[in-house]
C-alpha cells in the first residue's frame, strides 16, 4: 500500500517524493540514478553485501548502503561524488582481483554480464590488489545443467538467496568465513544429491557467470548473434514467460522472463532446460495414420482428423456418448483447455473431461 503523505527526500539536490517502506535505492532507481550494485536482485530481500550502492546521506558519518537504508523524510542524498565513485572503482578492482576472469559468454545466464558491465563502466581492469583467488570450482559435479565455476564467484550469495527465498529449495548455502567462503550444498556434495530441483534460478541471477547454463553454453562456438524471442512455456498451464534464445535457426537456450507476470523470473527444470526435443531427429513433424497392416504412415492433417472423427463417431454409435473420456494435457494453455472441454461437452455430448494436472 502506498503511504505517500507528501513526504520527500532530496536526491542529488532534486526534491522527490517517496512511498513508505521504500529504500533509497528504490527511489533512486525510479529516478534513473543508475546506482551500481552486484548483490541486488529486486525479487530478493536486500542484502547489503557488495557495498557498491553506497550513497552519501547528509549527517551520516560514512556512506550508507542505499539498498538496505529506508528513505526518510527530509534526507539529503548524493548518489554520486568523487569519493563514492572512488570507492566503487576500488570495490570493483577488488572483485576483479579475486576472480579468474571477467569476461564470460552471454549464454552463461540472464545476469551474467552485470559484473563485466560495471567493471568496464568504472575502468576497473587495472590489475591492482592482486593476490589469492577466492573460489574453488566444482568440475567434479557431473550434472548436465548447472556449471559450478566458483573461481568466478564474488560471494554475493544471490544464488543462495534465490534458492531459499524464491524457490524454497534451500539446496545451497554458505560455507566457511571471509575469503575462504564457498557456496556449498549439504556436506559439500553434488547438486543431484542435494535438495536442488535444477530450476536454474541460481544461474540466472548470478552476476558473474560463476554459475552457468551448461545446456546453452554448448553453443558458445556458434558464431551467429543471439536472438531472444518472448514466448510462454508449454510444459504446463502456469504460463511462465520465457525468452527463447536462438542463433540462426538453432534454439540454443531458454531464459526466464524477469517480468513474466506468472513467474517473475522463475522456471522449473523442464521449462529451463528441456528444450532439446525441438531439434530432435525423432520429433514428429507430420501426423501419422496406421494403415491396414498396422504400420504408421505419414498423413496430412485433413486425413488424420477425418480418421480421428470417424473413430470417435464409431465409438459413440456403438457404445453411446458416455463411452468417451478426454484428458486435456497439462501442457496446454488455458485457452486450449477451454476449447477441449467445449469440444467434449458440446461436440461429443459428454461431461467426461479432465486435465492431467488433476489426475
Amino acid at each position: 500500500m502506498s503511504d505517500n503523505t507528501g513526504r520527500t527526500i532530496f536526491l542529488d539536490g532534486e526534491e522527490v517524493p517517496f512511498d513508505g517502506g521504500e529504500t533509497i535505492f528504490q527511489v533512486a532507481e525510479r529516478h534513473h540514478k543508475d546506482i551500481p550494485t552486484l548483490c541486488y536482485d529486486d525479487r530478493l530481500e536486500a542484502f547489503g553485501g557488495c557495498r557498491l550502492c553506497v550513497v552519501e546521506v547528509e549527517g551520516a558519518r560514512t556512506p550508507v548502503a542505499s539498498c538496505t537504508t529506508m528513505a526518510e523524510a527530509g534526507m539529503r542524498i548524493r548518489t554520486k561524488s568523487g569519493s563514492l565513485e572512488m570507492h566503487r572503482r576500488v570495490l570493483l578492482e577488488m572483485v576483479v582481483s579475486e576472480n579468474r576472469e571477467v569476461d564470460v559468454d552471454e549464454l552463461s545466464g540472464y545476469a551474467s554480464q552485470e559484473m563485466k558491465t560495471l567493471v568496464d563502466r568504472y575502468s576497473a581492469r587495472t590489475g591492482r590488489f592482486a593476490g589469492d583467488k577466492s573460489g574453488v570450482s566444482r568440475p567434479d559435479d557431473p550434472n548436465p545443467f548447472i556449471l559450478r565455476d566458483y573461481e568466478n564467484c564474488i560471494s554475493c550469495y544471490r544464488c543462495v538467496r534465490v534458492c531459499a527465498e524464491q524457490e524454497g529449495d534451500y539446496a545451497i548455502s554458505i560455507m566457511n568465513r571471509g575469503f575462504e567462503t564457498q557456496i556449498t550444498t549439504e556436506f559439500g556434495g553434488l547438486l543431484k544429491d542435494s535438495s536442488c530441483t535444477f530450476c536454474g534460478q541460481c544461474i540466472q541471477t548470478c552476476p558473474t557467470g560463476a554459475l552457468g547454463d551448461l545446456k546453452a553454453l554448448r553453443h558458445v562456438e556458434v558464431e551467429e548473434p543471439i536472438e531472444k524471442t518472448r514466448s510462454v512455456c508449454t510444459y504446463c498451464g502456469v504460463g511462465c514467460a520465457l525468452d527463447i534464445m536462438t542463433k540462426g535457426e538453432q534454439v540454443v537456450g531458454i531464459q526466464p522472463a524477469m517480468d513474466g507476470p506468472a513467474n517473475e523470473g522463475a522456471l522449473c527444470v523442464k521449462g529451463q532446460f528441456a528444450f532439446d526435443f525441438v531439434h530432435h531427429p525423432d520429433r514428429l513433424k507430420t501426423p501419422f495414420i496406421r494403415d491396414d497392416h498396422g504400420q504408421l504412415v505419414p498423413a496430412t492433417w485433413d486425413e488424420a482428423l477425418d480418421k480421428a472423427a470417424a473413430g470417435l463417431l464409431e465409438a459413440v454409435n456403438e457404445h453411446g456418448r458416455h463411452s468417451l473420456y478426454a484428458i486435456a494435457s497439462g501442457r496446454a494453455p488455458n485457452e486450449a483447455g477451454f476449447t477441449m472441454q467445449k469440444f467434449v461437452r458440446a461436440g461429443l455430448g459428454t461431461s467426461y473431461i479432465d486435465n492431467c494436472s488433476r489426475a
Binding site: 572512488m86 570507492h87 570495490l91 577488488m94 589469492d132 560471494s155 554458505i174 575469503f179 550444498t185
Partner: protein
C-alpha cells in the same frame, strides 16, 4: 548410556534458543559433529540441512572429524605468538591454532575438550584459575573490581556478604523500572564493550518499544584479541554479572535474558551455570524475584568460535540458530532484536557496573572518573609490561600512569614502541600520540578509540610489520564474508603485510594499501571491516621507515 540424538533433540525443543546447546551436547558426546547427527538435528529443529551444514562451518571450534573436540587448540593471538605459540602448535600432537582466547595475562593457553591448560611448552602445561586482577595500584576508587579480590566472592554466600544482590533487592522492592533506568542514565554509564552507547538510553528504548516478550542479552563473546576483562569478571564475580542482568531485565521489562559466552571460556560456563542455579535457589532469580512476583529467567548459551558473534546482531543471529552474519541496521536490536523482540544487548562489564551504581547512586559512579569523564573502565593490559593484567582505571587516567606506574613499565633498557587500542580494533598509537588519557575523546582525537579496553604493549625490540601482519591475519580469518570490502580487503592487506603479493614499487604499494584502508573504513557493513584498516593506517602513520624497508628492502 549417553542420550540419543532423538532424546537430545526432544530436550532442546523445550528450550529457548536450542541450536547451539544441542550442538554442544552432541559435540561433547561424540567428540565431533557427524553427518548423521547433523541430519537428525536438521530434521528435529526444522533447519534446512544445507543451511545447518554451512552454519557449522562458520564456527571455528565445531569439529567435523572424530576426535576433533579433544584435539588441542593453541592460542595463536598476537601476544601468545610473541611467547612462542607457533612452536607449541608444532610440538603438540594434532594441535591447531585458534584466535586470541582471552588469556593474554597468562602463559599460552591450550584448550582440550572442556578444559584449559596454560604453559610455554608441551611438557609444562598446567591447569590454573583465571588470575585475580592485580592489587589496586592507584588511589582511585574502583567500581567492578572493588570486591573482586575477596576469595569467597564467587560463591553466593561470599557475594551476599559484600553487598551482593542488595541492589537488585532495592530495585525490585522500592524502585520503579523507570526510576532504575533514570538512575543508570544519570550515572553516565555507557557501553563497556566498545561502542559506548549510553546504557540508560538503551534500556529506555527497549522499555518504550512495542512488542515482546522483551529480552536482555549479556554479550560475553569477548573475542577481541588482547581483551580478557570479561573473563576475570565472570570467573571471580559471576553473581555481579547475573545481578546486573537481572537489573537490566527489571528496567526493560524483560522476563528473559541470555548470557552468550564465548567458546574459549569452558570453565566459565560451569561456573556461571552454578551461579545461576544458586541465585534461582535463593529466590534472587527465577519466577518470583525477591518475592515480588517479578520473573527473570537467565539462559546460558555458548558460542562456538567466531569473533563476529561479538557484534550484537551477529550474536542475535547466532542465538537464533541462523548464519551469524551481521544484520543490516536499522532496525536496531532495541526494537528488533532476538526473534524480532525489543532487546537490550549489554557487555559483561557494563552489566557488572550496574549493581554498585544502584547501591551507591549515580553521582558516586559519575564521580569515579577524572575531570568530566564518568566512571571507570577495565583495561586488559598485556605484552611487554612487567605486570600484565586487568586494571580498573578512572576514565581520564593518563596511559603512561597505567603502563609505567601501575603495571611496572616495559623491560629495563627498553621503551614503548607502540601500543594497540581497543584490543586490535583501534590500531596502534606510538610516538607523541602515546601521550593520551584513557577516555574516548582523548584517544579518538588521535584517530583511534578505547573500545573494549584491550591494550597490548610492544617495546622497541618488536617488529611492527610482523605485529601488523598478525593483527590483519586475525581480521581476515574472522571476517564473516558478508560484505566485499572486508572479505577481500582484510585478505589483500594481510598478503601485503606478509609480502607475498602486491607491488614491489613503494609508491604503488602505498597507493593500494591506502585505497584499501579508505574504502574498507567507509563502506564496510560493520565494525570489523571498518576497524581493521586502522592497523595499516596507523602502521603507515607511525612506521613509514619500517614499511619502506618491508616493501623495497634496505
Amino acid at each position: 548410556m549417553p542420550p540419543t540424538n532423538d532424546e537430545l533433540i526432544a530436550e532442546a525443543m523445550t528450550e529457548e534458543a536450542p541450536l547451539l546447546p544441542l550442538l554442544h551436547r552432541i559435540h561433547e558426546r561424540d567428540g565431533y559433529l557427524s553427518e548423521e547427527a547433523l541430519r537428525s538435528v536438521s530434521k528435529g529443529l526444522r533447519i534446512p540441512i544445507a543451511d545447518l551444514f554451512g552454519t557449522i562451518t562458520f564456527y571455528h571450534h565445531f569439529a567435523r572429524e572424530p576426535g576433533g573436540f579433544e584435539a588441542p587448540r593453541v592460542c595463536t593471538g598476537p601476544i601468545c605468538c610473541l611467547k612462542g605459540a607457533r612452536d607449541l602448535v608444532a610440538e603438540l600432537d594434532g594441535a591447531t591454532g585458534m584466535p586470541c582466547s582471552g588469556r593474554c595475562d597468562e602463559p599460552i593457553p591450550v584448550i582440550r575438550g572442556s578444559q584449559t591448560f596454560v604453559g610455554l611448552s608441551a611438557n609444562q602445561l598446567t591447569v590454573g584459575d583465571t588470575p585475580v586482577p592485580p592489587a589496586k595500584a592507584g588511589d582511585y576508587e574502583e567500581c567492578v573490581f572493588a570486591n573482586i579480590r575477596h576469595s569467597d566472592r564467587k560463591t553466593i554466600r561470599g557475594y551476599r556478604q559484600t553487598g551482593g544482590y542488595e541492589g537488585l533487592e532495592k530495585a525490585v522492592t522500592s524502585m520503579s523500572p523507570e526510576q532504575l533506568t533514570e538512575m543508570i542514565d544519570q550515572s553516565g554509564l555507557a557501553g563497556r564493550g566498545g561502542a559506548g552507547f549510553p546504557t540508560g538510553r538503551k534500556w529506555k528504548a527497549v522499555a518504550d518499544a512495542t512488542g515482546g516478550p522483551k529480552t536482555v542479552v549479556c554479550n560475553a563473546d569477548e573475542g577481541e584479541p588482547g581483551c580478557f576483562k570479561d573473563r576475570a569478571l565472570m570467573d571471580h564475580d559471576p553473581h555481579a554479572v547475573l545481578e546486573g542482568m537481572a537489573l537490566a531485565c527489571y528496567a526493560t521489562g524483560s522476563p528473559r535474558a541470555f548470557l552468550y559466552l564465548r567458546y574459549e571460556y569452558p570453565e566459565t560456563e560451569y561456573l556461571l551455570a552454578n551461579a545461576i542455579s544458586e541465585a534461582e535457589a535463593a529466590g534472587f532469580l527465577g519466577d518470583d524475584v525477591f518475592g515480588t512476583g517479578t520473573k527473570i529467567k537467565i539462559h546460558l548459551r555458548r558460542g562456538a568460535g567466531a569473533y563476529i558473534c561479538g557484534e550484537e546482531t551477529s550474536l542475535l543471529n547466532s542465538l537464533e540458530g541462523g548464519h551469524p552474519f551481521p544484520r543490516n541496521r536499522p532496525p536496531y536490536p532495541v526494537t528488533h532484536g532476538y526473534e524480532g523482540t525489543p532487546t537490550a544487548v549489554n557487555n559483561v562489564e557494563t552489566l557488572a557496573s550496574v549493581p554498585p551504581i544502584v547501591l551507591h547512586g549515580p553521582d558516586w559512579y559519575r564521580g569515579l572518573g577524572l575531570g568530566d569523564h564518568a566512571g571507570t573502565k577495565v583495561i586488559s593490559l598485556s605484552g611487554d609490561v612487567a605486570r600484565p593484567g586487568n586494571y580498573e582505571v578512572p576514565l581520564g587516567l593518563p596511559l603512561s600512569t597505567l603502563i609505567e606506574e601501575w603495571a611496572g613499565g616495559v623491560p629495563d633498557g627498553h621503551t614503548v614502541q607502540a601500543v594497540t587500542m581497543a584490543g586490535l580494533s583501534g590500531g596502534f598509537l606510538a610516538g607523541h600520540d602515546l601521550d593520551v588519557t584513557l577516555d574516548e575523546p582523548s584517544i579518538r582525537a588521535k584517530g583511534s578509540f578505547l573500545g573494549a579496553g584491550g591494550i597490548m604493549v610492544f617495546d622497541d625490540t618488536r617488529d611492527m610489520i610482523e605485529i601488523s601482519h598478525m593483527a590483519m591475519e586475525f581480521f581476515a580469518e574472522e571476517s564473516c564474508g558478508k560484505c566485499f570490502p572486508c572479505r577481500i580487503g582484510t585478505q589483500r592487506l594481510t598478503e601485503r603485510l606478509v609480502g607475498n603479493a602486491g607491488p614491489d614499487n613503494l609508491e604503488q604499494w602505498l597507493d593500494e594499501v591506502s585505497d584499501l584502508n579508505k574504502t574498507m573504513k567507509e563502506t564496510s557493513a560493520c565494525g570489523l571491516g571498518q576497524a581493521a584498516p586502522l592497523i595499516t593506517e596507523s602502521l603507515l602513520k607511525y612506521f613509514p621507515q619500517a614499511v619502506q624497508t618491508h616493501v623495497i628492502g634496505d
